[in-house]
Structures are given as C-alpha cells and as structure tokens.
C-alpha cells in the first residue's frame, strides 16, 4: 500500500509542495527571530491564521470572502503560466497580459459603459492578442519568449497608464470607481455575496475561475489538442516528426494563456475591489505570484486552485502582523521566501523519483539474488 502511494505522481507533488511550504515558513520564522525574537512565533501564527484572527464568525466569513476575491485572478494567472509551461514555454508575460486585461475591461466599462460580459470578453481578447504576439515572435522570429514577454510587460504597463488616464479622477491618480460610474459592468453576484456576510465583492468570479481550472484540466487531459500540446512539451522534435504543427501550437498556446491572464484581470477589476493607479511604475505582481502558484500547485490545475488560495491567504495574513514589532513589508518578504522555495517543488519531486527508483532497483536485485539462491538450493 505504502509503496503504491509513493509511486503516484500526485502524492509526490503534494509532499513536495508541503515540504516547500514548511521550509518557507521555517526560514520566515528564522528571519523574524533575527529581527525581533519576542514576537516571532506569534507573528508567524498570525500570518497562517489570516482572517481567523477575528473572533466573530461574521467577520471571519467576510474576510474569507475577500481572500477568495483575490484568489480568483491569481488562479487565472497561475493557469495561464501552467498552460504554457505544459508546452515548454515560460509565460513570464502573464503580468503584462493581465495588465492588458485590466486596461481593456476598465476602459470598456468606464468609457463605453459596456455590460459585464462584453467587458470580460474584451479583456480576454486583449490578453490573447499580446499572448499571441509573444507566440508569433517565438515561432517565426526565434525571439526567446522570456525576453519578449518582459519587454512587452513594460510596454503594456506604460500603455495602460496612458490609456486609463482618460478615465481617471481629476484629483487622484486612480481610475473612476466602477461601482458608481458603470454598475452594469460589475460581475453579477447571484446571491454569493450573502453567503459571505454581505461581502459585496464576492461575485461569480470565484466559481468562474474554478470552472476555468476544470476546463483547462479537461482540455489538457481529454482532448486531442491537449495531447498534442503535451507531446510538444515533452519532445518538440518527436511531436514535429508525428506531424503536429509546432508553430501553430506555440502561438495558440500563448494566445490561450494570454486570454486566461486577461480574464483574471476582469475577474478582479470588475468586482470593484480595487482601482487602477495611473502612475503605477511596476508591472502588477499578480503574474509573478502566479509563477509561484503554478509550481506550488505541482503543475496541476486542481492543485493550482489550492496553491493560489494559500498564497493569497498568507499575503492577506501578513497584514495582521503586529506593526509595532515588525515593519509592514514583512509579509511580502515571507511570501517572497515561500515563493522562491516553490521553485524547488520540481527539484524535490525529481529527487523523490530518484530515491524511489533506487529503492526499487535494490529490491529487484534482492529478489533476484533470492531467486538465484533458491535455484541453487
């Protein structure tokens, strides 16, 4: 029984992810100890507890809802990166595609007063366009997708600032409040908000993102297209030899990945949870955190749901750390440490594979030896 468990890929991914989380927490704890030993244990528990710091159930529910609201876009970004990674592409441009999605949905909502669905589709389109640009450059101009993705991130960021300046308030760098300016662009709640103690930001965005995760899983595991993509990721040359259109698949993959990231933007910004600041000087971190969520989730769509939630959980939890003892950036640092360790999930899995196969080899040899002995006797 135990042996079978160690052979299962999913179990190994889970263990690897858990080890990374524990290690991250441990290092974070050591850093806290270094700064102020008095409150280290309490602080790390606060980060883990997040909304459980509130004693009333109603408040707990409300802030649980807020954490979920922020999980939806992260999940979409993580799906975007995971989807591209399955084909052997590193979509570091997800941040930019996410940013393009913000630009598209906010502009459509605040300037043209579109409904929520057209706004979302527009955001998806914007993300997909920039995703496919990266794909085109990769397949026809041999430009590395990491470099072109990063350059596009900056171009899109400044473009977004410029375009959204047209729909910003005159006295502040923030865009108009979407809830008052164009309420028709707000995603419908369908009574979900009531479940979370009337948290108005809880909308269909959350179930929608989970449905997308499941759809992506079906696409990857159950369709011919998904099979081709994975084959290209495993061995590009073999896939080409089998007649799979490698270039077309590259472009299509990045277009879908971009669309997912763009949709993530719409899922956050069309709830009215935050506004865009038109003087932003760095690309939104959502796409970068998505990288961590992807690997922490073991490159599995369902695992990604939980890892995205976990990352938002500790990020939100960092806000409750005692500010008299630690500075407010401590939460960012701890999540950065965990995120860095997430990169090692794959490494841990490889190491586990090696150990398991070595053990198997030993057992086979042992049984062979015993067989030999039996033969002699």
């Amino acid at each position: 029984m135990k042996k079978n468990l160690w052979k299962s890929e999913g179990f190994k991914s889970l263990i690897a992810s858990l080890i990374c989380i524990v290690l991250g927490m441990l290092i974070g704890f050591l850093v806290l100890l270094f700064i102020n030993p008095a409150g280290a244990a309490e602080a790390i528990f606060t980060v883990m507890k997040n909304f459980f710091t509130y004693s009333r159930t109603s408040a707990q529910l409300k802030y649980f809802g807020s954490t979920l609201v922020k999980t939806a876009p992260l999940l979409m970004c993580a799906l975007s990166i995971m989807f591209a990674y399955k084909v052997g592409l590193f979509n570091i441009g997800a941040s930019g595609q996410y940013c393009a999605g913000i630009c598209a949905c906010l502009y459509a909502a605040l300037k043209w007063h579109w409904g929520w669905l057209p706004c979302m589709l527009f955001a998806i389109l914007a993300g997909a366009v920039f995703g496919s640009i990266v794909g085109l450059l990769k397949s026809y101009c041999n430009v590395n997708e990491v470099i072109s993705g990063i350059m596009l991130n900056w171009i899109i960021l400044y473009g977004t600032n410029m375009i959204l300046s047209q729909v910003k308030e005159t006295t502040s760098p923030y865009t108009f409040e979407i809830r008052t300016t164009s309420p028709e662009a707000i995603l419908p709640s369908l009574g979900l908000g009531k479940l979370f103690n009337n948290n108005i930001y809880v909308t269909i965005a959350i179930p929608l993102s989970i449905i997308m995760a499941i759809l992506i899983m079906i696409l990857l595991d159950k369709t011919k297209f998904g099979y081709e993509l994975k084959a290209t990721g495993f061995n590009k040359n073999a896939a080409r030899y089998c007649g799979m259109a490698e270039k077309k698949n590259t472009i299509l993959t990045l277009a879908i990945a971009g669309g997912l990231a763009g949709m993530g933007a719409s899922l956050l910004y069309q709830t009215g949870f935050t506004q865009w600041e038109c003087s932003t000087s760095s690309v939104p971190g959502m796409g970068f955190n998505g990288i961590a969520a992807t690997f922490l989730g073991g490159l599995n769509p369902i695992g990604t749901i939980f890892s995205s939630y976990f990352i938002q959980h500790i990020t939100a939890g960092g806000a409750y750390v005692d500010k008299t003892m630690y500075c407010s950036q401590i939460s960012d640092l701890i999540s950065a440490i965990i995120i860095y360790l997430c990169g090692f999930v794959l490494f841990l899995k490889l190491a586990m594979n090696a150990i398991v196969s070595r053990r198997e080899e030993k057992e086979i040899k042992k049984s062979e030896l015993e067989n030999d002995k039996g033969g002699i006797a």
Binding site: I147, M151, L152, Y158, A292, Q329, I339, Y340, G343, F344
Partner: protein, 302 residues
Amino acid sequence: MNMIISSIPTILMIVAPILITAIGGMICERSGVVNIALEGLMGIGACAAASTHYLMEAAGCGRYSIAVALLVGMLVSGLFSLIHAVASINFNADQTISGTGINLLADGVTIFASQILFHADRTKEFKVGMVVDKLGLYPTAYIALVVVLVAWYVLYKTPFGLHLRACGEHPAAAESVGINVRRIRYIGVGVSGILSGLAGGCIVLTQTIQYTSNTINGRGFIAIAAVAFGRWTPLGVTGAAFLFGAAQAFSVIATNFPALKVIPAEWFNMLPYAITLIALIVFSGKDYAPQASGKPYSGGAS
C-alpha cells in the same frame, strides 16, 4: 549638433550600468547558466551601495565612501547570486524559475533592509554622489570600458576563458579534458552577480540620490536583451547596450526639447523597451546562444 554633443555624458551615464550588467550576464551565459536574476541583483547592489554611502557620509568619511560603497554593492550582490548558483548548478533547478524567484526576493529584501536601517521603504538621501570629471563624464563610463576590455581579454586570450566558453558549449566535452564544470559555472554566476552589484551601485550613485523600489526599473532585463541582441560577444553586447541605453537616455533628454513636450511622457518611457523588442525582431534569425546555456549539467553521467 550641439545638442547631441551635450547629451553624450547623459547617454554614457545611462549606458554604463546597462553595459556592465550585460557583460556579467554574457559571461554567465557563456559558462552555461542563464541568469535572469540580473534585475534583482542590480537592485540588491544598488541598495547596499546607497546604504553604505549614506552611512559613511553621515559618519564623516565621505572621501573614500564611493569606492567602498561600490565594493559593498559588488560583495552583497555577488553573495546573493550564489543562491542562483547553488540552485541551478547543484540542484539542477529550472534556471528561469530560480532567477524569477531571486527577482521577487530582491524586492522584498531591499525594502526590508531599508526598513531596518532607515525605518522607511527607501534608503535615506545621500548628499553627494559621484562627481563628473573635466570632460563632464562620470567615472562609471571608464569603469564600463575597463570591464568590457577585461572581459574580452579573459574570454578570448586566456586558458580560463577557453574553459569557460567550453562549459557553455559542451560541458561533457569540457569535463572529459579535466575541466571542473561546476567550478567554472560557479565563477560565471558569481561574476555576473558582482558586475550586477557594481552596475546597481553605479546607477544609484550617478542617476539618483537614494534607493527606491523603482531605481532599477527594468534595466536588468534590458541588459539580458542586450546579451541576446549582442549575440553573446563582448563587442556585440557593447553595441547593443549602447543602442538600448541611448533609447533610455532619449526619454530623459527629450524633456529638454520643447517641441517634444506635447507627446505624453509614457511614449518615451515605452521607447527603450519597444526599441529593444523591435531590434530583437529585426535582427533575429539563427540561434547564436551558447549550446548548453540554460541546460543543467549533472556531470559525468552522460
């Protein structure tokens, strides 16, 4: 014409750090490790240099503090780059992911260090940074020149350079003739870390008066693009760094021309990245990257 000559010092000021970083990145990739963490390493170097310079200035030993600040920046960032070295050389981790992780970590660490030292999310402003010489040039221009020349000499004229290039092209072959691939790759990553730290220090001591989270602002990534665009050779990388640096300088200089003020500032901010991207597209084609760059080498087994 006068305008162009008068803007040469500005261009050199902006080109120098990009060039220094790009040379570091080139050496690192030539040894077979892709270092996408240049951006974060520059930030760490800049933060360390700015803090050191401020503290020494406040303590009254401003005379030597520029040199010491640069050295501290190089040291801290060099040590930080070892994380990437361990991850990608010993643990065979995905180098792009490790690099991205360091970039994220650098953001947290620098702000965090400023919090501890200065109780703010940035370092305190120092009074005097580097000073210009008679020609109006900052010393960084000369530092960059030295770095390029030394890099060229070491890479092409010494046995060590040959070993390093061999490790990036065919590590198994290099190992078969007795070269310690891991050691060489450690040196490659370390050098890129040290040079990124130097460049970060150069930026903070010439272009601004303190370190903030926006000090580096994508220059590390532009340096990475310069490595690819310069086709992994010192001369090519120098040319690419000049092109991209000039584009960046243009966005600074453009504010001096009244005729260009009508155009929103965002266009000029976008320009360096757009030019970098267009240059990569126009001059794309054959893959000139070192053969084994980015691929982990587990040694002996193959």
